[in-house]
Symmetry: C2
Amino acid sequence: MLTTRLDTGRIRAVRRVIDPVFLDSPLYRCDALEPVLGCAVSVKLETANPVRCFKGRGTEVIADELGSGAVVCASAGNLGQALAWSGGRRGLDVTVVAARSAPAAKLDRIRALGGRLELVDGDFEQARERAADIARHDGIRLVEDSLDLETCEGAATIGLELVEQAPSADAVLIALGGGAMATGVGHVLKSLAPGVEVICVQPLGAPAMTLSWRQRRVVTTESMNTIADGVAGRFPIPEVLDDLLQVADDAVLVREESITTGMRLLLDHAGLVAEPSAALGVAAVMEDRERFAGRHVVTIICGSNVDPEAYRRWTSR
Amino acid sequence: MLTTRLDTGRIRAVRRVIDPVFLDSPLYRCDALEPVLGCAVSVKLETANPVRCFKGRGTEVIADELGSGAVVCASAGNLGQALAWSGGRRGLDVTVVAARSAPAAKLDRIRALGGRLELVDGDFEQARERAADIARHDGIRLVEDSLDLETCEGAATIGLELVEQAPSADAVLIALGGGAMATGVGHVLKSLAPGVEVICVQPLGAPAMTLSWRQRRVVTTESMNTIADGVAGRFPIPEVLDDLLQVADDAVLVREESITTGMRLLLDHAGLVAEPSAALGVAAVMEDRERFAGRHVVTIICGSNVDPEAYRRWTSR
């Protein structure tokens, strides 16, 4: 019996307030990847929408609840874009705090979508601190990715679609950062399709949540070193870890080199632009082909927001 | 009153036999393209499916009608993949004739999907001749792209979705080759949303159908010179031209340089891999920004099947 903070009925309910442009994203087999990866591979494509990532599902829920007013969040770049998009349609005043080192393409899009952007030195954890300060000082709503249920429930709607679209899936590979997507999708899968293996994937260079899952207690790290900016955090949230312990069957760590190879394979064999975080699933298969041999794996392509120059470098041969 | 060979009721009917993996493709605004192109741009994304192009919509209709048996088609590469995919699920024996010069990635996929591939010297027109010979000799069904109504009706289902998903569109830009997509989508738009401008786009290097449309009679060309292999033909089909004359508001020709710039813009600003034919719409906007200024244009991203090396070259800066 699952006792996470999530509820499948409520996930079905919030789905109704999400703009359809984010829903029913494509799910299809990529046969051309199969000889390379040694297993049947389907992608759940979360990049074909106005913010090129899955985060709009959650920000729609938040913006719908808040109506007008003001809101602040810390973001590696994708949540900020999505919140600016959702807030912009509802007259919600959106402030996004990000690390100065975040991809320029993501920061530019936050501004273009009308978000007020504040940059901090340091990494995502410093951005989280600053966002909390702003919320306290201005008395406005702080959106905390993965802690706030709406972010998990929004992501969880991917799970509802997965269950319908890929009944033959043996395993689902989910990028693991703060944990909203992993706990959300994982909750739905464990509720509705408990036979499907839920595998979280994180970079070796930003392993805090995976280490925490393995040790069943919060483990923090001093620093991070990964190109997968979308999943790079150092301080796992205890409530999210508790949920992850219930819904994840495994959490694996992959090398940076596998992430870039994954991005290149997705480009060359599937015609898909994946940001580093979105290539974690393919990276995990490449690092453990035996585990997946002959099985049907689904990987969520969770974002495509890349700086063009970096992307060319990562995917060059 | 439209008197094309197509019928909107029948288009709605054939939609029911098409595998859902090809239907309800994403349509969304690409804000990041707008400063560059000077107008509001939405994409209708036909690449997020197992054959990375729109042709599956038509081959599903054909394969459903035929059931088992044998079929042959000429293909620049995308129709062949789609027919092999649709035929493969129904025990239909598929032969594809293609030019030896077609992109290797397309030819490889036809083989991988179980199609019997025959290569000919010359261009698409030689492939058409050879396919007709095979059909005559073997007494099997010849699928002729754009002439066979199923190919137009399948493509036309894109139009049904466009009308629902983009009620605010001012113009729809459609890649023009043999004419199946242009006449299919054009028919639906002229029937259900007659205020929307239907603009066909063809490369200057393969202009036969556009010249025919302009002169209102079939104009053939001696040769072709374009990277947009998917739309490269020299002998327009009279019946298709007759339909196109009724549904197209304009047909424009674009330079090769604009096509590669279009592919690069779609990659850098939208995170989308487009094969050359799929970048024709963006190329058309770039070549005539004044015409589209302040309007809402929809462009159909009709395929993403590219040879990786050529794609890197086209999109490098």
